[in-house]
Each structure stands twice: as structure tokens, then as C-alpha cells.
């Protein structure tokens, strides 16, 4: 059990670091979704099933949808670059 928890926490932290430093923007949005899904598994493990359902439906689903559609409207080219250095 403890190894499952440690693995899920490791996946969550690696995805969180990836959100900050991956150069591609759509990959950063996908990594945010991965963090939300790992968080859903953790909520289910600590016996909070209602929070897990809400996080899966709204945090991972609707939040990632909003971010991806906003990124599409902002344009992929302008938001590229690891720290926004090579914009424009």
C-alpha cells in the first residue's frame, strides 16, 4: 500500500515540475491534467470519495478543457518557449 502511495506522489511531483519547465505549452496543460488525476487517486486513497469525484469531474475535466481552449485561442506559437523568452 505504501509503495502505491509513494508511486502516485512521485508521478504527481514529476508532472508538477514538468508543468513549469517543459517547453511545449500544450504538454504543460496535459501535465496539469496529470497532476489533477494523481490528486484524484490520492483523495480516493485517504477515504474522501466525494472530493475525488469532484476533482475528477471538475478539476481534471472542466479545468483542463478551459485551459486547452484558452490556449487554442491565445495561439500555440506565441506561448511557446520554456520561460517565454523567445516570444514574438
Amino acid at each position: 500500500m505504501i509503495w502505491v502511495v509513494a508511486l502516485i506522489v512521485c508521478i504527481m511531483l514529476v508532472a508538477a515540475v514538468m508543468v513549469l519547465f517543459v517547453p511545449n505549452m500544450i504538454a504543460a496543460v496535459v501535465a496539469t491534467s496529470v497532476v489533477s488525476l494523481a490528486l484524484t487517486a490520492i483523495f480516493a486513497i485517504v477515504k474522501a470519495p466525494d472530493v475525488a469525484m469532484t476533482e475528477a469531474a471538475i478539476g481534471a475535466g472542466l479545468g483542463s478543457l478551459i485551459l486547452a481552449l484558452g490556449l487554442k485561442r491565445l495561439g500555440f506559437n506565441q506561448t511557446g518557449g520554456s520561460q517565454g523568452e523567445e516570444n514574438d
Binding site: 500500500m1 505504501i2 502511495v5 509513494a6 506522489v9 504527481m12 511531483l13 508538477a16 515540475v17 508543468v19 513549469l20 505549452m25 504543460a28 496543460v29 496539469t32 497532476v35 489533477s36 490528486l39 490520492i42 483523495f43 486513497i45 485517504v46 477515504k47 474522501a48 470519495p49 466525494d50 472530493v51 469532484t54 476533482e55 471538475i58 478539476g59 472542466l62 479545468g63 478551459i66 485551459l67 484558452g70 490556449l71 485561442r73 491565445l74 506565441q78 506561448t79 518557449g81 520561460q83 517565454g84 523568452e85 516570444n87 514574438d88
Partner: protein, 151 residues
Amino acid sequence: MMSIEVTIENILYFGAISLSLIGLFGMMMLQNVFRILLSLVLLEAGANLLLVLSGVRIGGVAPIITEGMSAGVVMNDPVPQALVLTAIVIGVGIQALALALIFRVKRNYGTLDLRKIREKLEKDIAVSNEVSAPGSYQAPEKLTESTGANQ
């Protein structure tokens, strides 16, 4: 020498605090506005996890009363769970609001880089106040030449 015991709860607390710190680092250090929004999402997730963990009891079950349940069974605290349930929904609302503000910034300034936005914003303020622009805070070597060049 005191050593920290490796239990499930300690691993989860480590994950929650690390997630909050990663989000805080991103909000402080990154320059792209959209990536700052993603860091805000990480910070919210870490805070939610920390709140839920504060209500976890050892050997507790989910706070749902079923029919065959005995009276003395240990439950997790349902109050932080209800609070986090609200906070998740409000977090998505904050994401949508921040995204709308980023749309306006992109339309007005044409870029998402925080330093370029700050330069253009200071230039706008200086023009509206009819004084010379002081230059960017993050490029102090340009301060003298920019103040010398303007007027």
C-alpha cells in the same frame, strides 16, 4: 537523533507541501503569464490536498453512514472535505477569470512575456503622466541610458 518515520500520511504530507512549494516557485519565478496561471492551479491543488489531509484519522472510513454500521467506528472529518469540495469548484472559476484577464492582456499588449508587458505598461503610465519612463525593474543596466535617451 530524531528521524522522520516513513508512513503513508507522512508521504502524503510531503507530496502536498512539495506541490504547494512548486506552485509558489512557479508563480514567483516564471515570466510567461499563461505558465503563471498553471502554477496557480498547482498551488490550489496542493492547498486542497493539505486541507483534506488535515481531516484524515488513522484507520478512518469515509464519512458516509450506511445501514450495518456500528456506533463506535472511526470516521474521517467531513468538514474539511466539504470545504475542499467548494474550493475545487471556486478554483475552476478562478482559472476561467484569470484566462479572461490573459485574453485582455494579449489583446492590449500583444505578448505574454511579463517583462515586455511591464515595459509597455510603464511606458503607457509615463506617457499618460507626461514624465520620462524609468525603464524596467529587471534590467537595471538599461536605467541610465533609457532615462538619458528620453527627453
